[in-house]
Symmetry: C2
Subunit: 506 residues, 2 copies
Amino acid sequence: MNFTTINPISNESLPGDFCESTAVDVSQACALAAEAAPFLRGKSGAEIATLLETIATQLTAVRDEILARVQAETGYPDGRVQGEFGRMVGGFGAFGQVARDSSWVEATIDHAEPDRAPVPKPDLRKMLIPIGPVGIFGASNFPLALSAGGSDVTSALAAGCPVVVKGHPSHAGTCALIAKAIQAGVAEAGFPEGTYQIVQGQGHEVGGAIVQHPEITAVGFTGSLKGGRALFDLAAQREVPIPLYAEMGSVNPQFVLPQLLDADSEKFAEGFFGSITLGNGQFCTCPGILFVPANSDVMLSKLAELVSASTGQPVLNKETASGFTSGISHLSSLPGVEVLAAGSLEGSAIGAPATVLKVSLADFLANREALSEEVFGPSAVIVVCPSASDYQEVAEGFCGQLGASIHGTEAELLENGDLIYQLERFTGRVVINAFPTGLEVCHSLVHGGPYPATTHSHFTSVGQSAMTRWGRAMSYQGFPDSLLPAALQESNPLGIARRVDGTITL
Amino acid sequence: MNFTTINPISNESLPGDFCESTAVDVSQACALAAEAAPFLRGKSGAEIATLLETIATQLTAVRDEILARVQAETGYPDGRVQGEFGRMVGGFGAFGQVARDSSWVEATIDHAEPDRAPVPKPDLRKMLIPIGPVGIFGASNFPLALSAGGSDVTSALAAGCPVVVKGHPSHAGTCALIAKAIQAGVAEAGFPEGTYQIVQGQGHEVGGAIVQHPEITAVGFTGSLKGGRALFDLAAQREVPIPLYAEMGSVNPQFVLPQLLDADSEKFAEGFFGSITLGNGQFCTCPGILFVPANSDVMLSKLAELVSASTGQPVLNKETASGFTSGISHLSSLPGVEVLAAGSLEGSAIGAPATVLKVSLADFLANREALSEEVFGPSAVIVVCPSASDYQEVAEGFCGQLGASIHGTEAELLENGDLIYQLERFTGRVVINAFPTGLEVCHSLVHGGPYPATTHSHFTSVGQSAMTRWGRAMSYQGFPDSLLPAALQESNPLGIARRVDGTITL
């Protein structure tokens, strides 16, 4: 069975047929990945880094072709796809650096004490090693940075794990081009075919088959709660359960303190408008709920003005457009909810007009669950509270979120330490005086959080630390030095930081 | 409903009735733990260390009472319970030291670059914070070191997580004494009651209720595959799934190379006999399968002699005894399996005689699954292979194990690098020239491994690194220094190793 992809600006099918992968295709890909696993395990961090750099060069060589296709399949503007292409290719460089550096393996050494009484102490050394073949699901909203060549893929390869990717059906052509370039890089670097493979499909079968394949040892997913939970359940129900790391989005609540608004309402309104419309709201970190104190009318007027004047941008696919329309319609129908402002929709066949809803705290609390559901796209619910002193209590009711922000003057922040630590309770990232969109990809980033933001709050799915998801802990006891992995050899040939006899040493 | 515990030497009920906890008891305990969580989150590593040290003192004060009870409930000899008591109390010291040191939080800092183009770089900092209330299941076989005051409990408290313990029904009295001492320590240190609580029960309901309680955020379990998997499934099926870290034992295969046996067959036989009978075989790391080359007759004769001369020791409870008897009887009935030797059973009403079975490689492979099943107690299956060159292929068939050993001369080890790395594939710990029993509890220990040894191979359940199971990742973006946790403040007041702008610094 074949399928095509759609240009959301024209609503027309794009050239290029994609074959729905079969169970046999998935099985072959997973078997090849399993064959490749010992090869990758045997490579040094430096060799893995070279692989990633070779792939980056191959991707860069077909930049124009990829950019044209991704624009056709997503309707994203020039700047967005150029920036995201840079982030994708940059990811290979950044994770290559982490692989080369090798300190991500958390090398730990405890020396023997042969004379210890009553029993001698053996030599024990520990590190993370690659878990094995990994399944990766591309996200719809980041067709470059979080898809067939995105950070789940890059972090897994960097950790030494072969990858089987499920391309996203709404940008299957982009995925195919990226996969071709990555496979060329794999071949050029002398790595086996099973290092990176892609399967495609519109239905749930292909993805389910990856998660259930016995050779797959872990899975990365970015997408909806419904999709992520379904795959998580499959992974947990296997005869041999495997970790399924799903990042499933959230509403990322924002809390604004009054003095900040007094100081510059317009600037805040502009910042908030920019954040909810960035990428046309199709960000996991889009701030979907904003809590403001009474007397925020100046800010709200400015925000309404900006939203009303906005023209629609295309959204990724028909499901996103219809989900947005029905989501907004449902929220608007709830008691006390009014549409503060909505933009127009022009220039794209499949689009979503920016929409901001307003509700009192009392009405929000009366329908809290419904009003806290993510409507994927450029929208937000603004909750007008009698006073900022209500924030603490309202914050206590939130379940897991990727991020949350508090906006205030320095004096206000110092007075609201309790609120800040209440936000910590339910998020993976607390942001002060900034909006949660626009992830800074670095070692300190946590793009994660308690369920339902993700399925495992110990890890992040973006940033260099994402690599540890693909490592398992391994101890070597009583090994002759020459048989130890380089990271654990006595002379520290990799020159990495290690915990030696309890103390981290350089 | 009340229950009592049994002395396995006399098969008589011990004094002391234990009340089967109700759903209401579990719910109250979990609610109190949730109340205590913010208090613990607010404590420094040094304050947590003081708590653990205070508990250690309280435990030491009732050492004699605990030792008497645990001996009555397990039949363990003096040396064993004294040693295990030391390990339990030592755990509070060791984890207290890790809490005080604070480097376990993996502090990571990326500084702002306000002038970066096209967008300024924000300040981001990351660390592990306590995940929240944790449920812990005590193991039957380590009533001190892995039970109500064992390393799951200690590591969780050290990480700042309140604990709800399910006592083990076969040593409920020991658990109650330990819990009383820990609670006295909690009170003395000024921590809230919810910091440590215990519920007791013989049935599955109490444990299920802990795993399913909405306030519980993670669970630690040590026990059987059947029990661990049932709880894992409950944890995964929750509305909000939580990680369930189960360590479920294994057969820890041993591979012996011929030159080593040529050099000293008797010493090897003595070592192996000691390992399978240590703690009467009731160790997760008991070596249940031994692969030897043809012409191992001298070693096998010596082993048979040792086993035949051995007298039985008591096992923990009737289930263990009957499981051992039926397990041995099942294995012995398989084609080609013969009893090489068995010890006698005297001096205890509930016991298990050391038993060693022998089978050819061909017959082993014909019934591999059955012969690879753990028979909990002092037993092993010895597989006589035509040649050590068969080991590589036989090793490829193993599923997840806690440990595996290879025994050889230095020359043999260097020739068998492939075999060593084949063992790595399915274990959490590869041991050279030693038996896997007798864990060295240190930072480099991995007491873990691929399923079914555990449910999550990224982590260890014993050793200081076990603490990271109870941490979740948290990012702080744009924080004023004074609002940051101490571990992330610019001046590094805790003096810990941190990754700063990509590089680990001291």
